[in-house]
Symmetry: C2
Subunit: 392 residues, 2 copies
């Protein structure tokens, strides 16, 4: 059996580590051909020695030079800068795992797709801000897109149990975050420390705040719209605090297919890597007798307006999802810095969206332009409100 | 599109009615070519007029003569007796729905499979008593077997989301019946009236008592063993009182795929009829926010020994599952007649199994012989215990 050629963008991050864990468990199946990261030359050098890729890249050019010195003449080819990462992403591979966050991830994801490489997508920005373009690029090049966050992987797996034309709707599950039961008034006084604690998943601060505002789920709604070619009416969100049901698909015969498991990133990443096969991942299926009750509720859009904002953005389409995402990033950073309160995150996003003139998405330049406009506008809104600042 | 030719064995029963409901909803897809029942000539005549099959059959020969008179010369061909039902089952069809219970169903199911007809199987006896023979007959003729009770249909659907070789185990869910929480001592005094009430499904008295003893789930374990070619160690049973999760499949990557829905027979029957498509069935997918918590527990084999007996029977294989089934039928009938207590059902089955010399299954005659022996032995055991009789 020919080993699958794997390129990992974001090799030193949590997605990259999980993917390399799968590679290490199944060396007979996978061969790492490219590894890219941001600026950690020491960590990438270590991975390069262990997995012997043909190329490595660091987005930070100076760090790339340090990496080249570390690896010496006999090591892999070393690329530097955003362009270098994109060259590595476009090199021939059977699967490119896109685990770089932010705009840098956007560029390299497009580079991989335009080169016709199948991708396993963790970079939210690509689908949220530029879904229409990414899907069109994939159709043009024939690149396949596999989701690797747990909800979309669940939908992808459930869809295997039926035909696309028999789909009625999908149900994205949401943990509800740490403030699922917190009254509206108390939400105004939430601190960054409180918001950065997630009950079921271990994630970074930005993502954890997104989970607390439910913007995380809103971004997933937008992603699902593009990944599965769904109109927003076919996407439901249900709060499921136990995070055992990763998501569900309802077919027109009344059947619902759910994908479940212990919250862990390895199975969905492994599934994207091994589809249509499934490999041992080191994660066991839960014994349902040992779990507590599984519960489901409708999200409260009064306390968590971000979800409705995301639905509105995906209905409007064009540049609006990109604006939502950019304004949210600015607002979350301001919240984490103690400059605005928790409920000012959705307020900032809503006001930025309201001020935006939606345009159709035609190219990546348009995405970057809308993104920059939204960041500037949101920052201005936050700066304009000194009386409402402070996170407590 | 050519309409699928459908034969229904047990057309006047609950499976038959649900199947005909699907046919009536999708007349452009299905054409009824054969209808068979037991003895209700009036009901079958009505169905014959409505669905215009080529052949009809009644297991009761005298009733078949009445049916022929009702339908007259211009009606379908009328067959009578067990042999007539089997002739109808073997006639060319794209799917034969085997909804006749008991030994009569066994014979006609085999006739359909030996003729190479795909079958949708509701007749438990075929798989429980003669699974090895039925699977061998299907392999020989190329007949495909679709399950149509909700649990096995669920497993069948979930297996579509993965490859057979990646399966780890299956989880059959059980409602737990009306006495799920009843203490052992109180179980001894359960009345037939109490046992015949099922919380989630509307079924006949025998099946409802089987659900109360959990023998129903035991029989399903044996069926699953043959339907999905599983060793007993790969079959788990979990009590799930809400009957929303119809069953689950765990793959080796740690993923669990579940099939869920409102308890209703139509979706699984429709799935067998339309596979791999899914059709509108008149049943909507549940809104999970409107359901209560979903819970799962391990079955208590002290209070419900029938489940362990069924596992023991399928481990031993040969004639023992047939003996378990026959002894259970006799014991349940005696319980419903008020002749033995509730906990004497498993006791009678266990003692009959212990007295049986297991032989390999080689032909249907051997099945019928083991069945007759077990019935006689169980009846003798019940007759021998006058001091322990009485159901209260």
């Amino acid at each position: 059996m020919n080993r699958k050629r794997i390129t990992i963008l974001g090799a030193t991050g949590s997605i990259g580590k999980s993917a390399l864990d799968i590679v290490a468990r199944h060396p007979e199946r996978y061969r790492v051909v490219g590894l890219a990261a941001g600026r950690d030359d020491a960590a990438l050098a270590e991975l390069a020695l262990r997995f012997a890729p043909e190329q490595v890249a660091l987005g930070d050019a100076a760090a790339a030079e340090r990496l080249a010195r570390r690896l010496g003449n006999k090591g892999p080819r070393v690329l530097g800068g955003a362009a270098g990462v994109s060259v590595l992403a476009a090199a021939p591979a059977d699967l490119v795992i896109c685990g770089i966050v932010g705009a840098a991830g956007l560029m390299s994801t497009f580079a991989a797709v335009e080169a016709g490489n199948a991708i396993a997508l963790a970079n939210k920005e690509s689908m949220v801000s530029a879904g229409a373009l990414l899907v069109a690029a994939a159709q043009a090049s024939g690149a396949r897109i596999f989701p690797i966050d747990s909800e979309h992987s669940a939908i992808f797996q459930c869809l295997e149990a039926g035909r696309r034309e028999d789909l009625d709707h999908i149900v994205l599950t949401a943990s509800g975050g740490p403030f699922r039961a917190t009254p509206l008034e108390a939400l105004r006084h939430v601190t960054p420390e409180q918001a950065a604690r997630h009950p079921n998943w271990d994630m970074g601060a930005k993502v954890t705040v997104d989970s607390a505002t439910m913007m995380n789920k809103g971004l997933e709604v937008i992603e699902a719209r593009w990944l599965f070619d769904l109109t927003p009416e076919r996407i439901r969100v249900r709060v499921h605090p136990q995070s055992i049901v990763h998501s569900m698909v309802a077919f027109r015969d009344g059947s619902v297919i759910a994908q479940m498991g212990t919250p862990d990133m390895r199975p969905p990443i492994a599934y994207a890597m091994s589809y249509p096969e499934r490999l041992p991942t080191g994660v066991a299926a839960p014994d349902f007798a040992k779990l507590g009750p599984l519960t489901f509720e409708e999200p409260d859009t009064t306390r968590f307006p971000c979800l409705e904002l995301a639905f509105a953005a995906t209905r409007a389409c064009g540049t609006l999802p990109c604006v939502l995402n950019a304004a949210n990033e600015v607002a979350v950073a301001a919240f984490l810095a103690g400059r605005i309160g928790f409920m000012q995150i959705p307020e900032t996003v809503a006001r930025t969206m309201a001020a935006h003139t939606v345009r159709p998405l035609t190219d990546l330049a348009g995405v970057l332009e809308a993104d920059a406009w939204a960041r500037a506008h949101a920052a201005r809104l936050i700066g304009e409100q000194p009386a409402r600042m402070g996170a407590g």
